[in-house]
């Protein structure tokens, strides 16, 4: 379940968001993607997840070229992503938010919704059971019947992660899962991500600004600056990498951490 990004370039008008970016997310890793704001991390995510098409370059998933495929096609191949700003369905319950996700539901056909109601109900019961597992796993059981719009920011992040658990995904792209999550929930989130990697064999690629979180969770870590990949390796090596430090803190304070 590897993703290989080869020489991706993407410009928006005159702005080059990504320049010849190449990186590999190895199977079974929690790969971290760090870099200052505007480095192109989310753009790269958007391209890998099929929201944008690159100007040039290739994306390979398990060796197959997936460049330019739309989000829902990639989803079927097992690539799923979350968003920096959670995309919950506010006026639907937390349970419904999760029940929506599983692919290939019989009842998503209008004809089946009218004429195969028994089959649809049976499948709904299976999905509902899975939802309860996910809610329990994420400690969200007590808010299952609440409207998703009423959740706290941190709970919405957990819900985003929960949605990835409702799929058969093997490659999960998390965009800032830790942003706005309080300390106790964060510990929970870290634990959930690690358990998903161990128990379900997920491969993660994570954009994150919280360096402590990255250090605890991710290996390897890839540092991006101004649309280019600067370095990759263990977090401690990245911290001591002079170019990365300069990019983050400017020349004057180089060597600060």
């Amino acid at each position: 379940m590897s993703i290989e990004v080869r020489d991706i370039t993407k410009t928006f008008g005159g702005l080059t968001a990504l320049r010849d970016c190449s990186l590999t997310v190895e199977p079974g890793t929690i790969t971290g993607l760090i870099g200052p704001n505007g480095a192109g991390k989310t753009t790269l995510f958007n391209i890998v997840a099929g929201a944008f098409k690159p100007d040039s370059g290739q994306i390979l998933f398990e060796g197959t070229d997936i460049t330019g495929l739309g989000t829902h096609r990639l989803f079927r191949r097992g690539i799923v992503r979350t968003f920096q700003v959670p995309k919950e369905f506010s006026r639907m319950t937390v349970r419904e938010n999760l029940m929506l996700v599983p692919p290939g539901q019989t009842g998503e056909s209008l004809a089946a919704a009218w004429f195969s109601r028994r089959a649809v109900r049976r499948q709904e019961e299976e999905i509902a059971a899975k939802v309860e597992d996910v809610l329990a796993f994420l400690n969200l059981g007590h808010v299952g019947s609440e409207l998703a719009g009423g959740l706290s920011g941190g709970q919405k992040k957990l819900l985003e992660l929960g949605r990835t658990m409702m799929t058969d995904a093997t490659m999960v792209l998390l965009d800032e899962p830790g942003a706005g999550v309080n300390r106790s929930l964060l510990a929970h989130l870290v634990e959930a991500i690690e358990r998903l990697k161990e128990e379900r064999g997920y491969t993660f690629c994570i954009i994150e600004h919280d360096m402590d979180l990255v250090e605890r969770l991710c290996y390897p870590v890839i540092a991006m600056v101004r649309g280019e990949i600067l370095a990759s390796g263990a977090m401690e090596d990245i911290r001591s990498n002079q170019t990365v430090v300069e990019a983050y803190f400017g020349n004057a304070k180089a060597g600060g951490r």
Partner: protein, 315 residues
């Protein structure tokens, strides 16, 4: 007024409510569940009305047909044609955001009205199509019963019941869940691997078919149609008011809204009829103004309508 007169007026009144309830139910699928901003209801309403009129009236030299077909054929073809128009509009707009759908639908509705007005071979233009039969008018032995508003109302109520049950089943199904999610957050649905364009198109087409059915029933109820009947005020604006007042997202609310707003609408007609003769034209405009103010009040006092969407656990 005598009792007989009151009952007769009641049947007449409720028949109109029923026709509007169908329009409002169709809009609820599009806007209430899916968030599609269709302000061309009048177009689908007109396509349904004219289709069933041409299909069921006796042959006439003044317009296409008539084909003298049974009423059921007229109703089915009305839905099919309204659906086909919706497929065309839908395919053109399905990738666009809902604001563009609004512009496209209002344009299409006006084009349809102008076609109906000007293509005399098809519709007899502004002179309209008379003699559109009532349900069971031709049934042997029905006698005057076929002309009664009571029989018509029964047919309308039966059709509303079928449409309502079908829409409720759809709303509670995974299909309806995807529609509501599209309304809430398109990107989130896309990230869950759903083919949004398909769902949008289906909701738009089914909703428009229901509007077409409403149009057909309108034609059979009034017996005579001309392009004047399909202006945006009556066929689009009032329907929106009904859905918003009744409760967007709630099928019961859509029906209740039709009842209440039609009551207010006809009530204002009664009020303005008491105005001195020299103010009669102004009074007509005043009625629309009053409805507009009513919408404002509803939105302030009960922003989710009289019967808000059911958001609690559904099972």
């Amino acid at each position: 007024m005598e009792l007989g007169g009151v009952i007769e007026y009641g049947l007449f009144f409720l028949s109109f409510v029923g026709i509007y309830a169908l329009l409002s139910l169709g809009l609820n699928l599009q806007w209430g569940l899916t968030g599609q901003f269709n302000i061309g209801i009048a177009g689908f309403f007109a396509v349904g009305a004219y289709t069933s009129a041409i299909v069921t009236t006796a042959p006439s030299p003044h317009h296409l047909g008539g084909f003298g077909a049974p009423l059921a054929v007229g109703l089915v073809l009305a839905m099919v044609l309204a659906g086909l128009v919706a497929v065309l509009v839908g395919l053109l707009t399905v990738r666009l955001r809902t604001d563009y759908l609004a512009i496209a639908t209002i344009g299409i509705a006006e084009i349809i009205r102008l076609v109906l007005k000007n293509e005399e071979w098809l519709t007899n233009g502004v002179r309209g199509i008379p003699g559109i039969p009532r349900p069971f008018a031709e049934t042997p032995g029905a006698g005057t019963l076929g002309q009664s508003d009571g029989v018509f109302l029964l047919v309308v109520v039966a059709l509303i019941l079928i449409v309502y049950l079908a829409l409720e089943a759809a709303r509670r199904s995974p299909w309806g869940r995807v529609l509501r999610a599209i309304r809430e957050n398109e990107d989130g649905v896309r990230a869950a691997g759903k083919d949004i364009e398909r769902f949008r198109l289906e909701a738009f087409v089914v909703g428009s078919m229901i509007m077409g059915l409403g149009g057909a029933l309108f034609a059979h109820f009034v017996g005579f149609i001309s392009p004047e009947a399909f202006t945006p005020e009556f066929a689009t604006f009032l329907v929106w008011v009904m859905l918003i007042a009744g409760g967007s997202g709630n099928n019961k609310g859509a029906v209740l809204g039709a009842l209440i707003i039609w009551l207010v609408w006809t009530g204002t007609e009664f009020l303005t009829s008491m105005a001195p003769p020299e103010y009669v034209t102004q009074a007509g405009a005043l009625r629309l103004l009053m409805i507009g103010i009513l919408v404002q009040v509803i939105l302030l006092v009960r922003p989710d309508g009289l019967l808000p969407e059911e958001t609690a656990e559904r099972k």
